[in-house]
Symmetry: C2
Subunit: 598 residues, 2 copies
Amino acid sequence: MTDFRPPVADLAYTLAHVVGYDRVAELPGFEHADLDMVTEILEEVGGFMAEVVAPTNRAGDLEGARLNADGTVTTPTGFREAYAAYVEAGWGSVPLPEAFGGGDFPRTVGLAIQELTMEANMAFSLAPLLTQGAIEALLHYGSDEQKQAWLPKMVTGEWAGTMNLTEPHAGSDVGALTTKAVKRPDGTYGITGQKIFITFGDHDLSDQIVHLVLARTPDAPAGTKGISCFIVPKFLVNDDGSLGERNGVHTVGVEHKMGIHGSPTCVLSYEDATGYLIGEENLGMRIMFVMMNSARLSVGTQGLAVAERAYQQSLDYATGRIQGRALGATQDSPIIDFPDVRRMLMTQKSYIAALRRMMLLNAVYVDISTHHPDAATRARADEIVGLLTPICKSFGTDLGNELTSLALQIHGGMGFIEETGAAQHYRDVRIAAIYEGTNGIQAADLVGRKLGVRGGASSLEFIATMRELDGELATAGEEFASIRAQLNTSLDVLEQTTAWMLNTGASDPNSVLAGSSPYLRIWGLVVGGWLLAKSALAARELDGDAIAAAQLPLARFYAEQLLPAVSGLVGAATAGSRDLFALDADALGDVARRTARV
Amino acid sequence: MTDFRPPVADLAYTLAHVVGYDRVAELPGFEHADLDMVTEILEEVGGFMAEVVAPTNRAGDLEGARLNADGTVTTPTGFREAYAAYVEAGWGSVPLPEAFGGGDFPRTVGLAIQELTMEANMAFSLAPLLTQGAIEALLHYGSDEQKQAWLPKMVTGEWAGTMNLTEPHAGSDVGALTTKAVKRPDGTYGITGQKIFITFGDHDLSDQIVHLVLARTPDAPAGTKGISCFIVPKFLVNDDGSLGERNGVHTVGVEHKMGIHGSPTCVLSYEDATGYLIGEENLGMRIMFVMMNSARLSVGTQGLAVAERAYQQSLDYATGRIQGRALGATQDSPIIDFPDVRRMLMTQKSYIAALRRMMLLNAVYVDISTHHPDAATRARADEIVGLLTPICKSFGTDLGNELTSLALQIHGGMGFIEETGAAQHYRDVRIAAIYEGTNGIQAADLVGRKLGVRGGASSLEFIATMRELDGELATAGEEFASIRAQLNTSLDVLEQTTAWMLNTGASDPNSVLAGSSPYLRIWGLVVGGWLLAKSALAARELDGDAIAAAQLPLARFYAEQLLPAVSGLVGAATAGSRDLFALDADALGDVARRTARV
């Protein structure tokens, strides 16, 4: 395990030169959040994460969160102290409204802080992440009274929050949930049911936990239309704001998972627990989507963040491990001198750079969509957020798996030994492609909901925006020639497959779904290539800047060696559903049968 | 965790209709090993593995092998009984020489038995696998006296064997090892040094363990040329064959690994242990390569085997898990009805079929290379083995990682919970891309040693052999049209990139190494597509056979949706080394530095 070096320089570069953070700083309400101020904050956060949170990562994995005999949950050594320091420093409140004690900074800044937290300790970072999701739901749909009652202490982090969706038979199909909410004479509801996979569903980091729980009133319509959302605190709150008696929610189990051991994944049992309705009855799905859309971008960022941490470790190992002799070397070489090890490092670094730019661009549009004075600009930004979110989530987390695997591979046999720490990253990040909507669900969301916005015009306009870079690339000289050529080729592919999707959707939706995952990957690859090209173009005017100097090699490596994968994905994206359904379940399982004739 | 269903039917189909097992059964010495006999044996082995070995897989993961305070190593519950039954049944001896108690069956049959063993329990399968490697080294280089002394009990499995190469500073660079061997007056050697990562380096499955140990005599030349190979038994053997006193080899540690917990990975300390030289001094590397080449094919098969086991589990889950409603369904659907889940299942199944055909083809050429009466035929087969082995090892184990990830993904959140068992496959198989020469080492072997055999003619002839299928595909009708087109396109790509490699190799070996991994992947994809096409063509004459009926959909899915990836790999294979080395270690690590200007 090596030290964590917060990538603040690349975050600042990306904000300044790639994703146009100046557009955010200009928005009403964000005047105080200029780039200098933001960079200072990120420097401080980075230092905090490196010194206070990162050292808890290994113990979190080794010890894990555990359920005690008395039903309480204990987090691993160091988590309580790190969380207390996090609350004390106020990092969680930075992007939240000043009215409730926050710093009123943009979501973009909040996401950068989340990235740094996730890099330090992914398991730990989930506590503030879930709290923030709950806060956002309350900000959007809570009554003034509810906001006053719950938000101030949630914003500081003194009280934690959770999201309670999943039940044993209601995972991707949220509408199948059966937890009951029965209205009481006093206007509160009695909540009864079992929830599973509740991240930080119970723990010892905060005195209070505010659960947001999806449940169904007795005469609610079937499916997702009949779901309501309730505030269900772990402890009831007295009129003076002090904590009262224990509410009827109890921890029945803590899962034994492959990774993020430090994060208690709880089975919670609700037995006539007191709940407070948010908004109106049957508004639950809409409320959950507020939390979910924001969380999906954050989960995509987890893929990036764990990949960054693993990359740093593999780079250190490759620099220090002497083994054999590279071509032309006169003495034994560090393995970084071997071309195939370089390939693994450059692949990690360029994908990580692409992902960071993609996540922050998405966040910039979130801020524009919520704060721009012009309604049309807000609406367009909201469309782009809708389009980019499933791409960020799936592409980011798929790459999280692939890049942590490369980092592990660079360690050779040591990578498979747990003491090294490389394996933990590989195990930890694996959940990110699954939760907050599996990556398959994201792909279905992309082709089923986002692609067709305004008859496809929304997506095509974004592609056209990416094409606008060609003018600058055309005059940027020979060094940019291969980037320009590959980007144009891949944009052609994206445009053609998009046209296929739009044409096919109405008549054959199953074929569109059949190609949705490879199609999403094409989007991810192209957006990443476009942003790295922008990044390299911007670097030309920044002589002497270490980050800037790396942008052209990164963009060119990506364009020449990674981006061409898009052409290999067209077949899968547009093949239709015939071959996917050619074999039935019996035929897919035929391995069990003995063939009659050999 | 679900039951294991041995894929004997597909093994038999592959032997009969795809890889030409009849060519093996015709070889002198293999007359008894006709396909009917082999299929019977595989049926029995499959049943044994399903009933006796597969049930130990989960306990092996949970308990792991452990080092006791007295220095002994205990394997998990059930391993001892399963191993005793394995020895009793004699499965390990099937492919070994009758002269030492074996069944004299071909390597091809031995590999199929290994696949079934690995599917049942990868960790367990390593005990017989390492024993077989040691046996092969002794068969090739041991004296008659040594063979008589050691082989009979190793062939039955009563005595186990190991391979001792790695030391803390000598991993991929075997030549850096420092373990000493000092000749004694009685002709034995005193072996002193420390070995790490020794698979089944100690255990309680057998009374005796026969270590093959690489060490260096005092005046040996530096590097790989100065390495000798010794037999170092755990217990000295008395003249009457009974076990005598303990030899000077002790277990210092058992590693805590991400997977294959049931396999004790040992640190062994040799302190003037008695060793018996095999062959002559300084012949060690040649002896190790006998073990290694055979082991590399077996490790590639591990990727296939664990993927098969994981696939079966994911298929069961997809069939049984009801969640949401597929398009057009009138009631809630099993998730197998969703196109993206189908994609994950078909991707697994078609890659697994391709890998099984590739591994067995390689084994067929091993048998021809050792048993064919004609020297030229043997030599050509040996070339093909040399070419295919690194491809089988790397492509098989890379896919092992990717396919077990898909199997896990199909389980959704349950896949991340250890009780489900999907995570174990993902963790277990991860080592296979690392040991027996990392996949990067395999790629270097392919471009550095194998590609240039006979000035490249050896590789080009194999490509030409694959092209010969085109005649049959051309007349096979419309159903084969896309397979033919995609196979031709990908063969063109393979031929062009091969020409680039051959032309570049002499002048710029670093650029060849730079592209070696993507180039190896192109080979793997093309060979897989070619074998699936053969498989589908053969199926036309086998009406009513369940396996045969699946071959065309599998081949077409692979050709249309997976094989096109080759075109996306050309850029990376032929980009040269410039961009890989454009950033030095400092620049690769620049994330740590704050940019001066934002």
